[in-house]
């Protein structure tokens, strides 16, 4: 089992000596939270110092965001062990169209699980529905085949759902990762951190004010679960010591919400 640690900033790197094999670095939900090239070089150096392989985590992207992500990927070293974790199909398409031959991973946003708090109280839901709520886009063999055959994606990533994860049988050579303990429940482009008092400033000149911390969201409605907002994404904490489902060969640990 490969052990990865996911952090969103240079100030959150794990201390040397911790038993990880790989560093996940970047952002899943905001192009402006991607590192710049200097930060990327520093993260690569820090990973090398700690003996860690490196994965650049990238978010869902609008057109300006795609331009930014493509430039950043271009600054990565040519090394099969260095990965890009893509959370936007457009980045995968654009990278391969441009002839980029590096290792691409389908991030957890592309596997489309049902992570929200409401999916955990099944009530009178029929058994087939309960089973379906544990599924993911990997339940479509055609999707896995498409990403593998056309785009060379051989690793897919999943969240550790509170209601349980069903991992389907996958073709030989396809690997799976599992994130713990934060599930990425939702994200917004109407980011509260860029609300200027009148509107959401979506002009693109973000000073990354969200780096100062997170927001905890405690539902007033009794019985619902607390969420944590980091950047423009909301996470649900689900700690589990259960063994990973069969087929998982990489565990990605998030010491805090990756924002």
């Amino acid at each position: 089992m490969e052990r990865a640690v996911f952090v969103a900033g240079l100030d959150r790197l794990p201390p040397p000596g911790q038993r990880y094999d790989r560093l996940y670095f970047g952002s899943e939900f905001c192009a402006w939270r991607l590192p710049d090239e200097r930060e990327l070089r520093e993260a690569l150096a820090a990973a090398a110092d700690r003996g860690l392989r490196f994965s650049l985590v990238t978010p869902f992207l609008d057109e300006p965001g795609l331009t930014r992500a493509l430039a950043l990927v271009g600054a990565l070293p040519q090394d099969p062990a260095t990965e890009v974790v893509a959370n936007d199909l457009g980045l995968i398409e654009a990278l391969r169209e441009a002839g980029w031959g590096g290792t691409l991973v389908a991030g957890r946003l592309l596997t489309r699980q049902r992570r929200g708090p409401g999916f955990q109280s099944f009530g009178d839901v029929p058994p087939a529905a309960a089973a379906a709520l544990r599924g993911s886009a990997l339940d479509s063999p055609a999707f896995v085949e498409l990403l593998g055959a056309r785009y060379g994606v051989k690793r897919f990533e999943l969240d550790d759902l509170v209601q349980g994860v069903v991992v389907p049988d996958l073709p030989a050579g396809v690997s799976l990762s599992l994130y713990r303990p934060y599930l990425l429940v939702t994200a917004t482009r109407n980011c509260p951190w860029i609300f200027d008092g009148q509107t959401w400033d979506r002009s693109g000149n973000c000073g990354r004010p969200c780096r100062v911390g997170s927001l905890s969201l405690t539902p007033v409605q009794a019985g619902d679960r607390e969420l944590i907002m980091g950047g423009c994404a909301q996470f649900l904490e689900h700690r589990s010591d259960d063994p990973a489902p069969a087929g998982i060969n990489r565990m990605i640990w998030q010491p805090g919400v990756p924002a």
Partner: protein
């Protein structure tokens, strides 16, 4: 620009087509699907029965009424994923929809799209906003799968839409302009929408506490708190129609499967009137004033960033 409106019944289809809706879209929940999976894992993104056409005969009547009125009918099958247990029911649903005369599927799951195009190579596919296609790479990816139109994510600014359209020649786009704005990016949101009072997790009330006591965190908490208890039903983007038409957006899309007919008929009439102004050559500023006046006369609020699809267009004095 076409008008794309939700529909829940044959009578609505007749009325909406008569008012100028060129395209209608609806959801279909076969009884066998409801029995096995309930609305906890529906074939589309709506988890309440009013937003679902309930049997194949009703679906055929809706499609026939749309066609009789000169409108096309698109079936929304936009669950972002379908579990293995659902694949057989899903194919049966698609067969029934095709037999009923459905003109296109609105879908988000690549597996479903691939399956439809394999079985019916000429089948028309429109990409749901749930697929969150917001860049030219995504447009190219989905075009390879046979997608002919993309429903834009709700949160894109006019600038981001312009950049996407310019970088994606040959792709057609639809944009939401009325009702049902989401606080979160729908394509990335995995909240369930199953509260009996329809108080969804995105707008329920939270006690919001920053981890760090500082100005940016306090301001972010206050901004987020603005969604609490808010009804998103009357969200509006009408004043952007002039710009969207200029960008070549294919259809102005209305939100609201499962809502009263009167809301839909007003929306179609209002958009038809505004599109007529554009066709008549009205200038942008005058158009925005007319659109805002129309919106204010009908909807329950002044322009607000929480209820606006294109908040960058809100005049500073009103924001």
């Amino acid at each position: 620009m076409r008008i794309l409106c939700p529909v829940d019944s044959a009578a609505e289809a007749t009325a909406l087509a008569g008012l100028g809706a060129n395209e209608l879209y609806g959801g279909y929940l076969p009884g066998s699907w409801a029995e096995r999976f309930s609305l906890a894992a529906p074939p589309n993104r709506r988890t309440f029965a009013e937003a679902q056409i309930g049997d194949a005969a009703a679906l055929r009547r809706v499609v026939a009424a749309a066609h009789a009125g000169g409108a096309e009918f698109f079936l929304t099958v936009n669950s972002p994923l379908f579990a293995r247990e659902q694949q057989q029911e899903l194919l049966a649903l698609a067969v029934e929809a095709r037999d009923a005369g459905t003109d296109a599927f609105i879908a988000a799951d690549p597996g479903f799209i691939l399956a439809v195009r394999e079985r019916w190579p000429g089948a028309r596919i429109h990409l749901s906003t749930l697929a969150d296609a917001a860049n030219h790479g995504a447009a190219a990816f989905w075009r390879r799968l046979g997608v002919e139109r993309i429903t834009l994510p709700r949160h894109l600014s006019l600038g981001a839409i312009a950049a996407l359209v310019a970088a994606s020649p040959g792709m057609r786009f639809d944009a939401f302009v009325l009702y049902g704005q989401c606080p979160n990016d729908e394509g990335q949101c995995t909240f369930s929408h199953d509260h009996p009072a329809r108080t969804w997790p995105c707008v329920q009330r939270y006690r919001i506490e920053p981890s760090a006591v500082c100005g940016p965190a306090r301001r972010a908490a206050a901004a987020l708190d603005g969604w609490g208890g808010l009804s998103r039903a009357d969200a509006c983007g009408l004043c952007a129609l002039w710009d969207l038409a200029r960008l070549g957006i294919d259809a102005a899309k209305i939100v609201g499967r499962g809502t009263p007919t009167e809301r839909k008929t007003w929306a179609v009439g209002a958009i038809a009137d505004l599109l007529a102004l554009i066709a008549g050559g009205i200038g942008r500023d005058a158009f925005r004033d007319r659109a805002r006046a129309l919106s204010r006369a009908r909807l329950s609020h002044r322009c607000s960033p929480y209820l606006c699809y294109f908040p960058e267009l809100i005049p500073p004095r009103e924001a």
